[in-house]
């Protein structure tokens, strides 16, 4: 398996601010890679380094086998980028911008362009400044999705899209993956990342804190268990990896580290299980845990 993006130890400072502080990121060819992090974590800075717009202070970055700074122009013909805050020329129509950006990238699939305009319900005749935020986002998405490229770099592409358009976007991303394209998806919307992404990297304060498949990451989190037992629960509290135990008669609720799940269930079955619900960890919990850690750090 080849890698489309490989970043290690990336550092970028702006004056005294250390925006990237040894960031690592590996995106395999053909996967949809979720790029998660709180505001100001360095997602957009990383992307701008990958696009050769910013020059890293140290660390290495390889994009589609090339150097994003030195080979910028050649690499850009093989990728499409949707910025987080799309800014259109006020007096150009949306259709003109789509064509311009597509042509500058080296060509546009006209059938696909027409198809995307219809699916995103976008009027290409309106002038740049008359579009709402969501519609500006659609202009950039159509321009990116209609180009014939190997890699899509999407920086929070769905901010401003309504739920209907969000689902159109998800369909489009799946189609792109099925056609063998690699996608780096920076996002805040966890549900979107959960449904679309094969692997995820979570960054915080310019550093990668977690990376792996969703299954890998779930291992690091806790499962919520709620059970009704035949008798009072015994010894649950003393098990390692069990947290926040609440006992009400024969009922018990607790969270357990996913790797200790087996031991916890064995302890429960000793008391005789009448009913059991278990909630798998969501990415949201994973995410919040890192957020909270960060707040703890900043305090």
């Amino acid at each position: 398996m080849t890698t489309a993006i490989s970043v290690s130890g990336l550092v970028k400072t702006f004056g005294r601010t250390r925006a990237l502080d040894g960031l690592d990121l590996t995106v395999r060819t053909g996967e949809v890679h979720g790029f998660l992090g709180p505001n100001g974590a360095g997602k957009s800075t990383t992307i701008r380094v990958l696009l050769g717009l910013l020059r890293a202070d140290s660390g290495t970055a390889t994009l589609l086998g090339g150097d994003p700074w030195r080979d910028a122009t050649d690499l850009h013909r093989r990728l499409a980028y949707v910025p987080g805050d799309v800014s259109l020329w006020p007096n150009l129509s949306g259709g003109e911008v789509i064509d311009l950006i597509g042509r500058l990238r080296g060509g546009l699939d006209q059938t696909r362009r027409a198809d995307l305009l219809e699916r995103f319900d976008l009027d290409p005749r309106k002038k740049g400044r008359t579009y709402s935020k969501g519609n500006r986002q659609k202009v950039a998405l159509v321009a990116a999705l209609a180009s014939d490229v190997e890699l899509l770099i999407l920086d929070e592409p769905t901010s401003g899209l309504d739920p209907l358009m969000e689902s159109v976007f998800q369909d489009c991303v799946r189609e792109e993956r099925d056609r063998g394209r690699t996608i780096l998806l920076s996002s805040h919307i966890l549900a979107e990342v959960e449904t679309l992404c094969d692997r995820v990297s979570i960054i915080r304060a310019g550093r990668t804190v977690e990376t792996g498949t969703l299954a890998d990451l779930r291992h690091l989190t806790r499962t919520s268990i709620s059970a009704e037992l035949a008798g009072p629960p015994n010894g649950i509290k003393d098990l390692t990896g069990v947290h926040d135990v609440v006992v009400e008669g024969n009922r018990v609720r607790f969270d357990v580290d996913t790797r200790e799940l087996d031991a916890a269930l064995r302890a429960l079955s000793q008391s005789g299980v009448r009913s059991l619900t278990s909630q798998p960890p969501t990415l949201e919990e994973l995410f919040l845990r890192h957020y909270q850690d960060e707040q703890a750090v900043t305090r």
Partner: protein, 533 residues
């Protein structure tokens, strides 16, 4: 009254945002006329000199094109009213048009007004606040101007007639800008409409003042009204009342338009654009051309109109100076009447060179505004290299002035040649004189590119400082007696004058071009190496 709630706060905000530009405009416009009373007395010390100036210039229609009619050049007051009346009207009008647009339509265009509009601010507050600021500034200019002239020993009645009627022109254009700000969504278009009306007013005045059989046409132009009040000659103060009346009537239209439109929208709805891009919009140069062409065409039209106007005045300049001894000496040093015309043409062409420098800076600055608006990022994330992107804009900063100077040179030669005869000779002569300015303009463009590459946040301030110092040194340096070493800082000092009796030498042009090339190349190299955004 709820419609104007918040006016005071907005006016204070406007004053705060303009705290540098506003005083500069006010001081420049109000001090200049009165401070030149002494110049008149030293240039035309005797009654005879004044009489001959009056006879020569008062009856010269080609001079009236630029300066307006001369009613009495035998007194310093009458001379000042002629020399500055029309110019003051023109500049105060420019000042209020930009000020009103900046605080009304530009605020809406940028979306800032929406932020303010959601607070306790009335529907009419933004318009009222900018009208208050522009009108108050006009009054201050008029009153200070009058006081400076009284201080210089000029008659009180004439001083106030001139000051108030100039302020009155400011009021009329404040109202006009109030209307144009309502019409379209873009502040660029609002400024464009305002300056277009100003241009028409200028042409009407120039035509009326220089055509004895159709003097009445001048009355259609608010720019002619200060001189129509005949300050220091007849002191028709009722002209000021006319100006106030017109301003109120036009202003009422602006206020009637406000409730008929939404915030952010114009009276003219934005038209839909084409669903696909034309072939021309396929490259970095294509988008640069699209962004720069309007400005280039506008400047070219302006240069042609000015060239024809100034050119047609050339033949009459010998009458302009009268026959005072001092002036005669000056004239002889320049080589007689033909030398005087040559010197005049050289001065005009030099003016075009400096304006070309202003255009070059403006064209180069488009790179910076494209970058700060994140438009550059969209283009640079495609297969366009940084050098290609920057070069697409620099083409306009470097070749745009060539187009403008050629147009101005030909238009000046045409205007002069049609009056003086020998059209072919004058065309080539003024074209050549205009084109030799180009290397000096390139130096300014090259320095703008250098600042942009090296210190992007300083691009705007740095480039305008370069252009400003250059223009000030060339215009005022010799007058205030700066040493040659200081004057040499301006590239225009080194441009050879194509006059009879001087030997043309290309060496300085080669040097200037070399400096421009080095600066531009250094700017491009730095731009390749720095961060974008």
């Amino acid at each position: 009254m709820t419609g104007v709630v918040g006016t005071w706060q907005l006016a204070r905000l406007a004053r705060r945002r303009d705290r540098v530009m506003l005083p500069i405009w006010i001081v420049l416009l109000s001090v200049i006329p009165g401070s030149t009373a002494k110049t008149y007395e030293s240039l035309y010390p005797t009654v005879a000199a004044r009489a001959s100036l009056n006879a020569g210039t008062g009856s010269n229609p080609s001079v009236a094109v630029l300066y307006g009619p001369a009613y009495d050049l035998t007194t310093p007051g009458g001379w000042i009213a002629w020399r500055y009346g029309a110019l003051e009207a023109l500049f105060i009008a420019l000042f209020v048009v930009f000020t009103v647009t900046r605080h009304t339509r530009a605020e809406e265009d940028s979306g800032r007004l929406e932020l303010l509009g959601s607070t306790v601010v009335g529907r009419y507050a933004s318009l009222t606040a900018s009208v208050v600021v522009a009108a108050a500034s006009s009054f201050v200019i008029g009153l200070v101007m009058a006081l400076v002239m009284v201080g210089a020993g000029l008659p009180v009645a004439g001083s106030f007639t001139l000051g108030l009627t100039v302020a009155g022109t400011g009021l009329v254009f404040t109202a006009i800008a109030g209307v144009t700000a309502q019409l379209t969504e873009y502040s660029r278009s609002a400024n464009g409409f305002g300056t277009a009306i100003l241009g028409v007013a200028f042409l009407l005045r120039a035509f009326g003042d220089s055509t004895p059989s159709a003097n009445w046409v001048s009355w259609l132009s608010p720019l002619a009204w200060p001189q129509a009040s005949k300050p220091f000659v007849a002191d028709r103060l009722w002209v000021f009342a006319l100006e106030v009346g017109v301003a109120v009537a036009v202003g009422a239209i602006a206020y009637r338009l406000v409730p008929r439109r939404d915030i952010g929208a114009g009276m003219f709805a934005t038209k839909l654009g084409p669903p696909t891009a034309p072939r021309s919009l396929s490259s970095a140069f294509g988008i640069a051309w699209r962004l720069q062409r309007g400005s280039l065409v506008g400047w070219a039209v302006g240069f042609v109109v000015m060239g024809v106007l100034f050119g047609s005045m050339a033949n009459g300049v010998s009458g302009l100076v009268g026959d005072s001894d001092q002036v005669k000496q000056m004239l002889e040093r320049m080589g007689g009447a033909n030398g005087l015309i040559d010197a005049y043409l050289a001065a005009i062409v030099g003016l075009f060179g400096m304006l070309g420098g202003v255009y070059a800076v403006q064209a180069a600055l488009r790179m910076r505004s494209e970058e700060t608006a994140s438009h550059a990022e969209s283009v640079l994330a495609t297969g366009v290299s940084r050098v290609r992107w920057a070069a697409s804009h620099l083409v306009f900063a470097l070749l745009g002035p060539a187009v403008l100077l050629a147009a101005a040179g030909l238009a000046t030669g045409l205007g002069h040649g049609l009056r003086a005869g020998d059209l072919g000779h004058h065309l080539t002569h003024t074209l050549g004189a205009a084109m030799v300015q180009l290397p000096a303009v390139w130096v300014i463009a090259g320095l703008a590119a250098l600042v942009y590459g090296l210190w992007p946040p300083l691009t705007v301030a740095g480039s305008w400082t370069v252009a400003g110092i250059t223009v000030l040194l060339s215009l005022y340096g010799p007058v205030i007696g700066l040493t040659q070493a200081v004057l040499d800082v301006s590239p225009f000092t080194h441009v050879p004058k194509l006059q009879a009796g001087t030997v043309f030498t290309a060496t300085p042009l080669i040097w200037l071009t070399a400096i421009a090339v080095v600066a531009t190349a250094a700017g491009l190299v730095s731009f390749r190496r720095r961060d974008i955004g």
